[in-house]
């Protein structure tokens, strides 16, 4: 464990870079998935294409996506924006389905009641549909958060800073402690984020606190 103690600033740097890349991606994935998921839920004709497309996106290997994206969006190969966009795409791929499923699960009575009370569509969506779909979206978001934090490391192969650089460097120098540190920190970041989302979920959706369903 000497390696860890001798390299704390480096580890802190990498951890910070890792968060700075993965957190915006997770948030962006959520912001993009809600309207997309709504489209898939609202218009049956779009349901198949959107969900299948999202599922296939997940099958694109991450490494080439990291390389191809700069060509498509005109950024430098080593720009962290590439990785953020790529991670966002993967996040959307997972989350769209949760959003659509969540909205599908909103009881029609609740929606009718809101209509009867004269809620305009946007208000109804934001104050009735979305909160009711919340638990399902949240469980999807948790999967996205964990996998994004884990996937973020692959960018290291291209030299994009993240905890993944501890793998490539440790691999070349044969330092197991370095690789192990990277693995553990990535896992810890992912799990802390996961717990944080659960806590935020309870805060934002107090009515789910007693329901055991959230911990799915």
């Amino acid at each position: 464990m000497n390696w860890v103690l001798d390299n704390l600033p480096l580890i802190a740097d990498r951890t910070w870079a890792h968060l700075a890349t993965s957190l915006p991606a997770i948030l962006a994935a959520l912001l993009v998935s809600v309207p997309l998921g709504w489209l898939a839920h609202r218009y049956r004709a779009l349901n198949g294409p959107v969900l299948t497309g999202a599922g296939l996106m997940y099958a694109i290997p991450s490494l080439p996506l990291f390389i191809v994206l700069p060509v498509l969006i005109g950024t430098g190969v080593r720009d962290a924006v590439n990785v953020m966009v790529a991670l966002t795409l993967y996040g959307v791929a997972l989350l769209v389905r949760s959003v659509a499923d969540g909205l599908d699960g909103v009881p029609p009575e609740a929606r009718s009641a809101a209509v009867a009370l004269g809620y305009p569509p946007l208000r109804r969506f934001l104050t009735v549909d979305l909160p009711l779909a919340g638990p399902v979206i949240l469980s999807g978001l948790r999967v996205v958060a964990v996998s994004t934090v884990s996937l973020c490391t692959v960018g290291a192969v291209l030299g994009i800073p993240s905890l993944g650089l501890l793998f490539t460097d440790g691999f070349q120098r044969g330092i197991m402690a370095e690789i192990l540190t990277g693995i553990l920190l990535t896992a810890v970041l992912a799990l802390v984020l996961d717990r944080l989302l659960v806590a935020l979920g309870r805060l934002a959706m107090p009515w789910t606190r007693k329901a055991a369903g959230v911990d799915a």
Binding site: G55, I67, V154, V157, G164, F167, I183
Partner: protein, 227 residues
């Protein structure tokens, strides 16, 4: 888009398909790695998942384990296993199996949990033993969900199996890394297209299997298993 077209041409060149390091051989290797990893992961995860689903015990532990496994970065596991085990298939396979386990484990117990309790109660009332409930009711009724889990596991592994080439194994990743290191965009993109195609084929096969897995007379609610 020009680059995309060149990548398509790269894939379609018949001269690249033959030989021991041709596209055909590499695709088969890639597919082989994927299926082997999913098979091993299923051999580990399905019995555990079924046990959890059947008894209702250890659910918290199963959730925690699959959550932790999902959080493990594949590149890290791969490099660590590589340093420990040397080149060859064992190191990447370890990483891929760890990658595949969470989806399969979750699907195995979620499939059981999705079975209507009333069906099980009815069976018990008719004198079914625990084992009979397991094999005649829970396993067949949980099968579609399990196939869904196998499907997402296979898709994840097929996309990730490119990393096998990082530690000396084969598969389509060989082209990917060679293209990356020599800035051959056509090769890199072309091999990615091949991986996506392979994923499409697998996805189709699993979709059919999923349909076939639904027992006759049962309509399964459209309820996706989150990967």
């Amino acid at each position: 888009m020009n680059q995309l077209w060149e990548a398509v041409l790269w894939c379609l060149d018949p001269g690249r398909w033959t030989g021991p390091s041709g596209i055909a051989a590499r695709s088969l290797e890639h597919l082989g790695y994927t299926l082997l990893a999913v098979l091993i992961a299923a051999a580990v995860a399905v019995p555990i998942g079924w046990w959890v689903g059947h008894t209702g015990k250890g659910r918290g532990a199963a959730v925690a384990v699959s959550g932790a496994a999902r959080a493990l970065p594949t590149l890290g596991v791969l490099t660590l296993a590589g340093l420990l085990l040397g080149i060859g298939l064992v190191a990447p396979m370890t990483a891929f199996v760890i990658l595949a386990i969470p989806s399969i484990l979750a699907a195995a117990y979620a499939g059981f949990e999705a079975v209507d309790r009333r069906v099980i109660d009815a069976a018990r009332a008719q004198g079914y033993t625990g084992a009979q409930v397991l094999w005649w009711i829970e396993v067949p009724l949980g099968l579609p969900v399990l196939v869904g889990g196998l499907r997402s596991a296979a898709l994840q592994v097929v996309a990730t199996a490119t990393l096998a080439a990082y530690v000396g194994a084969g598969g389509l990743g060989r082209y990917l890394f060679l293209g990356l290191k020599t800035q051959d965009y056509a090769m890199m993109l072309g091999s990615s297209l091949l991986v996506v195609t392979l994923a499409l084929v697998l996805d189709g096969v699993f979709a059919l299997a999923g349909r076939a897995a639904v027992p006759r007379g049962v309509t399964v609610a459209r309820r996706g298993v989150t990967a």
